[in-house]
């Protein structure tokens, strides 16, 4: 089936999810066209020209960085001209700003955070999670000739190997951009670099109160671990952002990741699931963190922490 992949790039760099989309597209048979929407799309052609890509469509636009009206207009134009059966984008913050809008406007079939897709006798079936990733669902798109899917990052391996795609250009004209990129605010470096630690003791909302944090700071020190946290602790202002593991925080790969009171939301897993050994302690036996953990204990984290304190 014909697939249109939309490349994602930021500050001149192709985002890795783009090559994962190519793998997914290839799996479904193709032909696979990749649209590069940029001020200078040619600069990204080499990065996108991997095995499995049949055509690279350069779409020059005025804007250097992502703006949702610009992308929406460009993809809308390509969809009208090329009528792909399937449009694939990463489930990313940029896509969240325009993909659902495009699907609503054109009446496309739509699903987000998809981690598996199959062609069931000409009918597309996508798999995604519901209810805190405790349940999976198969979703289909009755009556839709065209479907737009946002695919979860790292669910497919990146496509690799030199490609031999033809390169074409599409002119889409200018779009009135009503939400304009102005500036970047860099991530502030913290007192520690959690990405270089061999052993992370990571605590989540399960620790309950800010007052309890000190206990885990001390435990981490005694165990020779670096303390990291899930997002809610940063949102609450208990810990600086530099300690946050996950999609909007740091991606870590320590030898040991010990997670206490972390449920295992997809955005948290995105930042730690490739850790060497993952140990999770959670009172909920169905917590999603146990799906990626190597070792798990259904236990109260305070009781386990108390026992650990005795051992170190």
């Amino acid at each position: 089936m014909s697939v249109l992949v939309v490349a994602e790039h930021i500050r001149g760099e192709l985002r890795p999810v783009t090559l994962e989309l190519v793998s997914a597209a290839k799996e479904l048979g193709g032909p696979v066209a990749v649209a590069v929407i940029a001020r200078d799309p040619a600069a990204l052609v080499d990065a996108v020209n991997v095995d499995g890509v049949d055509e690279i469509v350069c779409v020059p636009v005025e804007q250097e960085e992502f703006e949702n009206d610009v992308y929406q207009h460009a993809v809308e134009t390509l969809v009208a001209e090329r009528s792909p059966r399937l449009i694939l984008l990463g489930f990313t913050v940029n896509s969240m700003g325009y993909a659902p809008a495009l699907a609503a406007k054109l009446g496309l079939g739509f699903a987000s955070d998809v981690f598996a897709v199959r062609d069931d006798g000409g009918e597309l079936v996508a798999e995604r999670a519901f209810y805190g990733a405790k349940v999976n669902g198969e979703v289909d798109f009755p009556g839709h000739e065209q479907v737009l899917l946002l695919l979860r990052a790292t669910a497919w391996p990146p496509a690799e190997g030199a490609g031999s795609a033809t390169v074409s250009e599409a002119s889409v004209g200018a779009a009135a951009s009503r939400a304009r990129h102005k500036d970047w605010v860099e991530v502030v470096a913290g007192d520690v670099d959690i990405t270089s630690a061999d052993f992370l003791l990571s605590v989540g909302r399960g620790i309950g109160d800010k007052e309890n944090l000190e206990q885990f700071q001390e435990l981490a020190e005694a165990m020779g671990a670096t303390l990291s946290v899930s997002r809610p602790l940063v949102d609450a202002g208990w810990m600086p952002g530099a300690r946050q593991v996950g999609q909007s925080g740091k991606t870590v790969k320590p030898k040991v990741y010990l997670a206490l009171g972390i449920s295992g939301a997809v955005q948290h897993l995105a930042g730690m699931k490739t850790s060497g050994t993952i140990i999770a302690v959670n009172t909920d036996p169905e917590a999603a963190i146990f799906n990626v953990a190597h070792y798990g204990a259904v236990a109260d984290l305070f009781e386990v922490a108390e026992e650990l304190e005795k051992l170190y």
Binding site: F110, S112, F130, G137, P142, V266, A297
Partner: protein, 252 residues
């Protein structure tokens, strides 16, 4: 300043699950309901903007059945002024674009200066309703906003991207923004406010033509466990000793 906030009542699973007979959803008996976490931040942001402006109204809108009024009452107890709930059976388990169609009718009738949604709902994790709603209202938009300032005809927002990098964007208003956790500290409702919220108005409507769904759930199921974790049994003391052993072995 009139601000519409989209508030969803979400369901959370405990450690047991059963499915409905058609297997298209979880049996509601196994769900605990609450206001979507992201929507408490959206509500708080709206209240602050209303109060800073000195006048105006915060209207919470929900596509949900009568039970979903609990989530609306929560937002009303935080300080929102009134609510509009839209519902028909077609909306049960509906895809985000269908939900956006129902919400759009309600939002349009309010002619708001600003529409706020959460980034995502914790039970469906579509992260899609806000942008679809913006399109249906023909409004500019930005997703995953961690900072918001209004002045003149524009909203200056921080959009938080992967890795924490922030895109500072200027959005023409009125617009639809999807609000990320951490943008503010949602207030707790006092008991008195919760009582008062019972008196606030919630108008109930039926949607017009919702069009064809963008997706349909074929079936839901418990994910196969895969290799899964090796579970450490015993009391906390034994668990701690095993954890220490594993750490020593794996960090050596």
């Amino acid at each position: 300043m009139k601000i519409v906030v989209c508030v969803k009542q979400v369901g959370a699973l405990g450690d047991e699950v059963e499915f409905t007979d058609d297997e298209r959803d979880v049996d509601p008996d196994y769900l605990d309901y609450a206001i979507n976490e992201w929507d408490t931040y959206a509500t708080e942001e709206a209240l602050r903007l209303r109060d800073a402006a000195g006048d105006g109204e915060v209207v919470v809108i929900t596509a949900g059945d009568e039970d979903a009024e609990d989530a609306m009452r929560r937002a009303l107890a935080m300080g929102a002024d009134r609510g509009v709930r839209v519902w028909s059976d077609e909306l049960a388990g509906a895809d985000p674009i269908t939900v956006a169609r129902a919400l759009a009718e309600v939002a349009r009738a309010e002619s708001p200066d600003l529409v706020l949604c959460g980034v995502q709902s914790s039970d469906a994790v579509q992260a899609a309703t806000g942008a679809a709603l913006a399109e249906l209202l023909d409004l500019p938009r930005a997703a995953v906003v961690t900072k918001l300032e209004l002045s003149g005809g524009t909203a200056t927002v921080h959009r938080e991207l992967e890795g924490g990098l922030v895109d500072v964007a200027e959005v023409d208003t009125p617009c639809v923004l999807t609000i990320q956790t951490g943008i503010n500290e949602p207030r707790y409702a006092t008991l008195r406010a919760i009582k008062q919220a019972e008196e606030k108005e919630i108008e109930v409507r039926e949607p017009g033509d919702l069009g064809a769904p963008a997706a349909r759930v074929r079936r839901m199921f418990v994910p196969p466990k895969g290799e899964g974790a090796e579970m450490l049994d015993g009391d906390a003391g034994e668990v701690a000793r095993r954890i220490k052993e594993i750490i020593e072995e794996r960090t050596a």
